[in-house]
C-alpha cells in the first residue's frame, strides 16, 4: 500500500481529478466482479512457515467509468482488493486503472495508472514490459500491477506509434513466509535496492510501433528504464539471510510477429536486453492450430506448441531458458461458454515438468466457475521451478459479475 501512496504523490491523480467532467452530458457506469477462490494442496509444504493445506481467498475488482464529450473523453477507475486467509503479503490492494483518455482525430492521449499488453505468444509473455507482474496474485505471471504513464498514441497509414513516459516504478509483489508457490528463501520486499540513484522515481520511456500488413501483425519497441524483473540478491539483515529484490537499469528492444494463415497462427516474440552486467537475446516462438467443428459438433480444438529460449542458458535468471510448451484448448461454443484448457511445460535443461489443466463455464447470466489443477515435477535444485515441487494443487474459483 505504501507504493500506492507514492503513486498518488506523482501528481497524476491530481491531474485526473482536475479533468473530471462537470457537464450534464456525462455517462456513468459501474461494473466489475467479486470472486472466491479455494486452493487445496495435495502435498505437505516444502519450506518452513508454509502452514497451509488449503487456502481461501476473496477478491473484488469494481470498475467505475465516466464518459463525456460524445465519448472523446473518458475516465476509468478500477481499484482492486484481495484478502487471503494465510499469507498477509497476498492480502493486497492496487489501483489497476485510474486513467483519463482523450480521443483526437488521429491520436489518443492516455494519462494515469493503466495496463498495457504487448505480445502474441501464450505460454510466456516475453516482450510484455510496461507493467510489473503481480506475482502474489498468481504464479503464472498473467496478473499485472497498474503502471503510472502518459501515453500518446498516433494513428498513421504506416502503423500506430505509441510514446510512453512512465513516472513511478512498481515493485514486484512476492508471497510471504506463509505463502505457498514461492522460493525457498522469502523475498523481503521492504528492502528493495535500485541501480539508479532515482530508485523508484526513475522516469522510464518507451516507444512502440505496431502495424498490420495483410496476414501479418507486427510490433517493435524500444524501452529505456528500470527492469521489471528483479535480481534476487542475498543480504544479511540482523544476522538473518534474506533475499532482496534489486532493480537495475536496462535498454530493451522487443519484436513480435503473428502470421494468421487459415487455421494457423504462427507467433514469434524476441527481445534483446542490455544491462550494466550483461546483454542477451531471448525468444519465444510457436504456433496455434485450430480444428473447427470437431466430429460434426460445434466444438473447436486448438493445439499449441511453443519453444522458449534464453541466450544465457542455465545462467538465466528467468524460468524459461530452454523450455518446450505444449497445450490443447477445447471450446464447446455452447451457451455456457464451456472451455477446457491443458498446458504442459517441459524444461529441457533440467528435465522438469509442469502441467496446468483449467475447466470453466458460465452459470446463468452472471456467474462463472472454474476448476484448475496445477502440477509440478522439478527435482533439480538448480532449477527455479524446484521450489514448487510440492505445491501441486486444485483451485476452485467462483466469480460473480455485476
Amino acid at each position: 500500500m505504501r507504493t500506492q501512496k507514492a503513486l498518488l504523490q506523482t501528481g497524476l491523480a491530481t491531474a485526473l481529478l482536475a479533468a473530471l467532467p462537470a457537464s450534464a452530458e456525462t455517462y456513468f457506469e459501474v461494473s466489475g466482479k467479486v470472486a472466491g477462490e479455494l486452493r487445496a494442496f495435495t502435498e505437505d509444504a516444502q519450506f518452513a512457515g508454509q502452514n497451509q493445506d488449503t487456502n481461501l481467498s476473496f477478491l473484488v475488482e469494481p470498475e467505475f467509468f465516466w464518459e463525456w464529450n460524445d465519448g472523446d473523453d473518458s475516465l476509468t477507475f478500477t481499484p482492486y482488493l484481495r484478502v487471503d486467509e494465510n499469507d498477509p503479503e497476498r492480502t493486497h490492494g492496487d489501483i489497476r486503472e485510474l486513467s483519463w483518455l482523450h480521443v483526437g482525430e488521429d491520436w489518443e492521449l492516455r494519462a494515469g495508472i493503466r495496463k498495457v499488453f504487448w505480445g502474441v505468444t501464450e505460454f510466456q509473455h516475453l516482450v510484455d514490459v510496461i507493467n510489473q507482474t503481480d506475482a502474489v496474485d498468481d504464479f503464472d505471471g498473467e496478473d499485472k500491477l497498474g503502471q503510472p504513464m502518459i501515453n500518446l498514441s498516433l494513428v498513421r497509414d504506416w502503423g500506430i506509434v505509441d510514446l510512453f513516459v512512465l513516472p513511478g516504478f512498481r515493485e514486484r509483489t512476492f508471497p510471504g513466509r506463509e505463502g505457498r508457490l514461492r522460493g525457498g528463501v522469502v523475498v523481503n520486499t521492504d528492502a528493495a535496492e535500485y541501480e539508479s540513484g532515482d530508485e523508484e522515481k526513475h522516469i522510464d520511456t518507451a516507444i512502440r510501433w505496431s502495424h498490420t500488413l495483410g496476414d501479418f501483425d507486427i510490433g517493435a519497441y524500444w524501452f529505456h528504464g528500470t527492469n521489471r524483473d528483479p535480481e534476487l540478491v542475498v543480504r544479511n539483515q540482523g544476522g538473518q539471510t534474506v533475499l532482496v529484490p534489486r532493480y537495475v537499469q536496462m535498454d530493451q528492444i522487443g519484436f513480435d510477429l503473428q502470421a494468421t494463415l487459415d487455421s494457423w497462427l504462427w507467433k514469434v516474440e524476441t527481445l534483446w536486453r542490455d544491462t550494466t552486467k550483461e546483454d542477451y537475446f531471448a525468444a519465444q516462438a510457436g504456433f496455434e492450430y485450430t480444428f473447427y467443428g470437431i466430429r460434426e459438433s460445434s466444438a473447436d480444438l486448438g493445439v499449441l506448441l511453443e519453444y522458449g529460449w534464453d541466450e544465457r542458458g542455465e545462467d538465466a535468471t528467468s524460468n524459461v531458458q530452454n523450455d518446450l510448451f505444449f497445450g490443447g484448448r477445447i471450446t464447446l461454443n455452447d451457451e455456457a461458454s464451456t472451455e477446457l484448457l491443458a498446458g504442459m511445460s517441459h524444461d529441457l535443461d533440467y528435465d522438469s515438468l509442469s502441467v496446468v489443466v483449467e475447466a470453466s463455464r458460465r452459470f446463468g447470466d452472471n456467474w462463472k466457475a472454474s476448476l484448475d489443477g496445477r502440477f509440478f515435477s522439478a527435482d533439480d535444485n538448480r532449477d527455479l521451478a524446484s521450489a514448487f515441487d510440492r505445491d501441486d494443487h486444485l483451485q476452485l474459483s467462483i466469480e460473480r459479475y455485476f
Binding site: 495496463k115 499488453f117 451457451e335 466469480e399
Partner: protein
C-alpha cells in the same frame, strides 16, 4: 461493396439489367444472381450504421439466456464492410470487442480485444460455421451479404410475408461454410429477404431464419426489427432483435482500427 466499380458485377448488371433482350436467354442461374445483385444494389449508400443487437437464446426446455451487443459498421467501396462489435452481456464478457474487415472473396481480417488482459488478439477467420456466442446464428449468418459469396439458382415465385417472393437457392463458394445450400425468399417489390432455409453439409434441413417487422431508414434501407432462427435438429432457437438503428452518423476508417477496438467498451 460498390458493385458498379467491380468488373464482374458491372458486366452482370449490364448483361442482366441494362440490356433487356438478353433476359430472354436468362438461365435460372443468371436470374438467381440478378436478384441478389439487385438486392445488394438497392441497399448501397448507407455509408455507416450503428445499432444495438439483443439475442435471446432458448434451449429445448425453454431455458433462456441473453446476449447484448452494440455494433458499428462502415460501408467500404470495392470491399466488404468494416465492423466493430462490443459485448455488454453476459457480464463475464462485458467489454470484449470484435473488429472485422470483411472481404467478398478470401478470409476476413478479425481481431478480438480481451479487456481483462488488455490484449488485442488477431484471430483466424475461417471459423465461419461455428456458433456465434453459443447462439443458433453461425458467424457466416451475421457477416455482411456479398454477391460473390454464393452461386445461385432461381427456383420459383411464391407468396410470402412480403407479398410475392422470388425463391432462390444459394450455394456457398467458401469451402468452410457449414451449409451445402440456402433457400432464400426475396420479395419482388423491395428485394428484402423474408426467410432462409439452411441445409447442413449432409444436405439435411438444419435451420430456418425468418425476418419480421421491416422498417425503412433514409427512404431506401430496409432493416428488420426481429430475426428468428430455429434449429430443426436440436430444437433450440435464437431471437435476434435490433434496436436504435442509426445511419450516416459520420463514422470513418479511424473508428475501425486497433486503437478504437481497445477503447470500444
Amino acid at each position: 461493396m460498390n458493385l458498379l466499380t467491380n468488373p464482374l458485377n458491372t458486366f452482370l448488371i449490364t448483361a442482366l439489367v441494362a440490356v433487356p433482350f438478353t433476359a430472354q436467354a436468362e438461365t435460372a442461374e443468371e436470374k438467381g444472381m440478378a436478384i441478389s445483385v439487385e438486392s445488394k444494389q438497392r441497399d448501397l449508400g448507407w455509408q455507416d450504421m450503428q445499432a444495438q443487437m439483443n439475442m435471446v437464446l432458448r434451449n429445448k426446455q425453454g431455458q433462456e439466456s441473453v446476449r447484448e451487443i452494440r455494433m458499428k459498421s462502415l460501408e467500404i467501396e470495392d470491399d466488404g464492410d468494416k465492423s466493430l462489435s462490443v459485448f455488454d452481456k453476459p457480464r463475464d464478457v462485458k467489454g470484449t470487442a470484435f473488429l472485422s474487415f470483411s472481404h467478398p472473396v478470401g478470409a476476413d481480417d478479425q481481431w478480438l480485444y480481451l479487456p481483462a488482459l488488455k490484449r488485442v488478439k488477431r484471430i483466424a477467420s475461417r471459423n465461419k460455421s461455428g456458433p456465434f456466442m453459443g447462439s443458433e446464428f453461425a458467424y457466416e449468418d451475421l457477416s455482411s451479404f456479398e454477391v460473390e459469396k454464393y452461386t445461385y439458382k432461381y427456383l420459383r415465385d411464391e407468396a410470402c410475408d412480403g407479398g410475392t417472393c422470388f425463391v432462390v437457392e444459394q450455394y456457398p463458394v467458401d469451402k468452410n461454410s457449414g451449409y451445402t445450400r440456402r433457400v432464400v425468399w426475396v420479395d419482388q417489390s423491395e428485394y428484402r429477404v423474408w426467410k432462409i432455409d439452411f441445409f447442413d453439409r449432409k444436405n439435411s434441413p438444419l435451420k430456418t431464419l425468418t425476418y419480421h417487422d421491416y422498417q425503412e431508414y433514409l427512404g431506401k434501407h430496409w432493416r428488420p426489427d426481429l430475426m428468428k432462427m430455429v434449429n430443426h435438429q436440436t430444437g433450440k432457437s435464437t431471437d435476434l432483435s435490433w434496436n436504435s438503428y442509426q445511419f450516416k452518423t459520420g463514422l470513418s476508417d479511424k473508428d475501425f482500427n486497433k486503437n478504437s477496438l481497445k477503447r470500444a467498451r
